[in-house]
Amino acid sequence: MMLPQASTVAPNVDHLFDTLLALCALVVVGVFTVMIVFCVKYRRGTDAVRTPARQHLGVELTWTLVPFFLFMGIFGWSVHLWIRLRTPPKDAQPVYVVAKQWMWKVQHPGGQREIDQLHVPVGQPVRLVMTSQDVIHSFYVPAFRVKQDVLPGRYTQLWFTATQAGSYDLFCAEFCGTDHSRMRGRVVAMPPADYARWLHAHQGTGLAAQGADLFRQLGCSGCHDPQSGVHAPDLYDLYGRTVPLADGSQVRADERYLHDSILLPKKQVAAGYAPIMPSFEGRIGEEDVLALVAYLKTRTHAAEDPDEHR
């Protein structure tokens, strides 16, 4: 049984793996051969020549430096690939994942929701923005050679581009309690046309639209709308901007900042505003926070998608 290579990075990862494997096999065979030859030739009772031991600085330095430079070579190769694995392409389409004991909940920007399944288009980069509602989980798709832990209280991300249509195993790889081994699912990679059909068939209210509703229902608009009499930050064009904080530092308004500002508003207070916002911790779930964040990202003066500027 061979693992499929179903993402753009999979062949590169396997190439590094195979090279390192060959190198290690060479070392193992070499050392074992030498050991066996010595053990046979110098076994007790043979009349092999046995001159007294000497120390050889040159030999020591050789087998110190040769492995060192080999290791550095492997390290360099690996880092090159690692940076690629960790840097999502600019045009990657975001999909939101919320993990909880013991299921994967997925929301697409168009509002499509799935549980323990993730539909993605072949040939287009997908960026998963993930958080957990309880303990640490880990999103692992062996066929794509990708894995990323999913933490409560922060967003982590993972990207891939599927290259072959098919259905692939999704595992939780970080022990998360009783039914850890049942926290499995499928990632279904579809040709773009099929994917578009799938999206259409499962259309719901868009995530940003859900967020806009929540923005009113939860009372956010009462303070943050321009008409409001409360002195609260204006949230237009906030996403991606650098925000000066009350403690003198600065922070980039990314997904994590927006998330924390909703759940832990006292953590990073914007400069010039009193810390009067109530926390929504425990009042709304991670999925609602994701919808709010999606809405805030679209709340721009210009009509363009702020994702383009990232």
């Binding site: 049984m1 990862v13 793996f17 390192l20 070392v27 193992v28 050392v31 074992f32 030498v34 050991m35 010595f38 053990c39 110098y42 076994r43 007790r44 092999a48 020549v49 046995r50 001159t51 007294p52 031991a53 120390q55 050889h56 020591e60 087998w63 110190t64 492995p67 290791f71 550095m72 390290f75 190769w77 690996s78 880092v79 690692w82 940076i83 960790r86 004991q101 303990v135 640490i136 880990s138 692992y140 050679r145 894995k147 990323q148 933490l151 409560p152 209280g153 922060r154 195993d169 790889a173 022990f175 998360c176 309690g177 009783t178 850890h180 081994s181 049942r182 832990l264 953590k267 911790e281």
Partner: protein
């Protein structure tokens, strides 16, 4: 070496026969034996849990036990094997017994503290055992937060208290060894004449006293969060779950070297005695031990490449992890070169030592895959990692421990065991081990996550092979019990130096007298002064 058999008074075993004479002893040799009994007990309990895990995994469905029980079984296995077997194994038994003998001292520097550390070990061990058996814990030995602090309904705090207590026995042993090596070496025993086993004990003692307190603090913080709701690790309380992983691995990665450095020390003694040859590159071996102990403190983040730590932090931890592989490579090459022009006999201790070198090499090389960030993304938290650390911990540390027990058994007990049985057990263990753990590398590469109670049917073939290997391995571990116990009554008298080995411990009686030497020995040559 001298073949003069000194006329010695009573051996340490004849100094008293009652239970009292053992439980109140200050003799480092008796304390070593007490530790030996304790860790053997825990080894078989931990092994039993491993057997349950492997039997459950014969079939993909979770049919032998419930998920809850399975999770408790692997937690039990991990906690017991790491803290109550591997960490104390070589230092507390062989180290306690041999360190003073090897440097020509009468005892360790603080004999009462030594006995106290054994009591701490047993108290912490039995307490933890009670908690694990009566209630159980399902967090894994790593206690990752916030699962362990806010979500697990099991007895996390009680087990943490047990581990906390046992940590102090490590610290006291480390303290004792450091002071002993500094102040109690025999005349002429300079630092560069110390046997490598003593060097490894010294290095490991340093790691113990520097790393273990961090574990104690971390466990205390878990208790603080769990009992009083102080937000340290749980983000819902304003904490940071990654902080726990940093703390935990800051201890637990050096802890890996607490387990493997002593094994390297033992194997250096076994190979030189088996090949009757000086160690190749003594100085480089010493530098490698120190290098591993120091750099071992700087690589903890390689457990967290996909945990959410910054991409750049991971790059730094990756290069340091490659660098720490260099001294390990040096050691393997030097052991191999020691065989060159040797006079090699294949007694059981040598078989264990050669088995160690092979398995340690496979374990070490697969560590390179995990140090390479881009490969670790796929491999971490799969069976590849399980196989890797079992090659180091079981293939490495346990093989070396058993090799050491076989090598010094005549010194400890004064008796010889059945060589044929011992060789058979060593070879059976080597095959059983490889059959158990090699398939797990393949499982990991194919994507089977670790700590899975149920798994997908495509993984079954390798799991069945692994479980079959575990059964053979289990039998191989039981064999020494039989023939070593037999030797206590029926084994031939060993004489002071049955292996014709160098080293001060072989210049006194087997078993040695209470104060080890008649007169303080004088040292006028380096270690491993074999004729060749």
């Amino acid at each position: 070496m001298s073949t003069v058999e000194p006329r010695l008074p009573r051996s340490y075993l004849e100094e008293g026969f009652g239970l009292r004479s053992w439980l109140l002893t200050h003799d480092h040799k008796r304390i070593g034996v007490l530790y030996g009994i304790g860790i053997t007990f825990f080894f078989f309990l931990g092994g039993l849990a491993a057997a349950l895990i492997r039997w459950e995994l014969v079939t993909p469905a979770g049919d032998l036990m419930s998920a809850e029980t399975y999770n408790k079984a692997f937690t039990f296995h991990g906690v017991v094997m790491v803290w109550f077997f591997l960490i104390p194994s070589i230092p507390a038994t062989l180290g306690n017994f041999l360190l003073p003998l090897m440097i020509g001292a009468r005892d360790v520097a603080f004999p009462r503290l030594n006995l106290f550390s054994w009591y701490l070990y047993m108290a912490g061990g039995l307490f933890t055992l009670a908690c694990l058996v009566l209630g159980g814990v399902d967090t894994g030995w790593t206690f990752y937060t916030p699962f362990s602090t806010m979500f697990s309904n099991t007895h996390v705090i009680l087990v943490a208290v047990g581990v906390f207590v046992v940590g102090f026995s490590s610290i006291f042993t480390g303290l004792n060894f450091i002071v002993t090596v500094h102040t109690m070496r025999a005349p002429g025993m300079t630092w560069m004449r110390l046997p490598l086993f003593v060097w490894s004990m010294y290095a490991v003692a340093l790691v113990m006293i520097l790393a273990t307190p961090v574990l104690a603090m971390t466990l205390a913080l878990i208790a603080l969060e769990r009992l009083f709701g102080v937000g340290i690790f749980d983000p819902a309380l304003g904490g940071d779950p990654l902080l726990f992983q940093h703390f935990f691995w800051f201890y637990s990665h050096p802890a890996v070297y607490i387990m493997i450095l002593p094994a390297m020390g033992v194997v250096s003694e076994l190979i030189t005695a088996g090949a009757r040859r000086r160690i190749f590159g003594y100085r480089f071996m010493v530098y490698a031990i120190i290098g591993i102990a120091v750099v071992g403190f700087l690589v903890w983040g390689h457990h967290m490449f996909v945990a959410g730590q910054s991409m750049y932090a991971s790059i730094v931890f990756s290069i340091l992890s490659f660098i720490i592989a260099v001294p390990s490579a040096i050691k393997v090459f030097n052991w191999t070169a020691t065989l060159y022009k040797g006079d090699i006999g294949f007694d059981a201790p040598m078989l264990y030592a050669l088995g160690f070198v092979g398995l340690f090499m496979l374990g070490g090389l697969t560590g390179l895959f995990l140090a390479a960030t881009a490969l670790d993304v796929s491999l971490t938290d799969t069976y590849f990692v399980v196989a890797h650390f079992h090659y180091i911990m079981v293939g490495g540390a346990v093989m070396a421990y058993l090799g050491g027990i076989h090598f010094w058994w005549p010194k400890i007990t004064g008796r010889l065991y059945s060589e044929a049985w011992a060789r058979f057990a060593a070879i059976l263990m080597f095959f059983g081990f490889n059959l158990t753990f090699f398939p797990q590398y393949i499982l990991g590469w194919e994507g089977m996550p670790r700590r899975y109670h149920e798994y997908l049917p495509q993984f079954q073939v390798w799991n069945v092979l692994s479980s079959a290997g575990a059964t053979i391995l289990g039998v191989a571990y039981l064999l020494p019990f039989g023939y070593l116990a037999w030797s206590l009554r029926h084994g031939a008298r060993a004489g002071p130096n049955p292996w014709d080995a160098t080293g001060l411990e072989w210049r006194t009686g087997s078993p040695p007298p209470l104060h080890n030497f008649d007169r303080p020995p004088e040292v006028d040559e380096g270690p491993y002064a074999y004729r060749r």
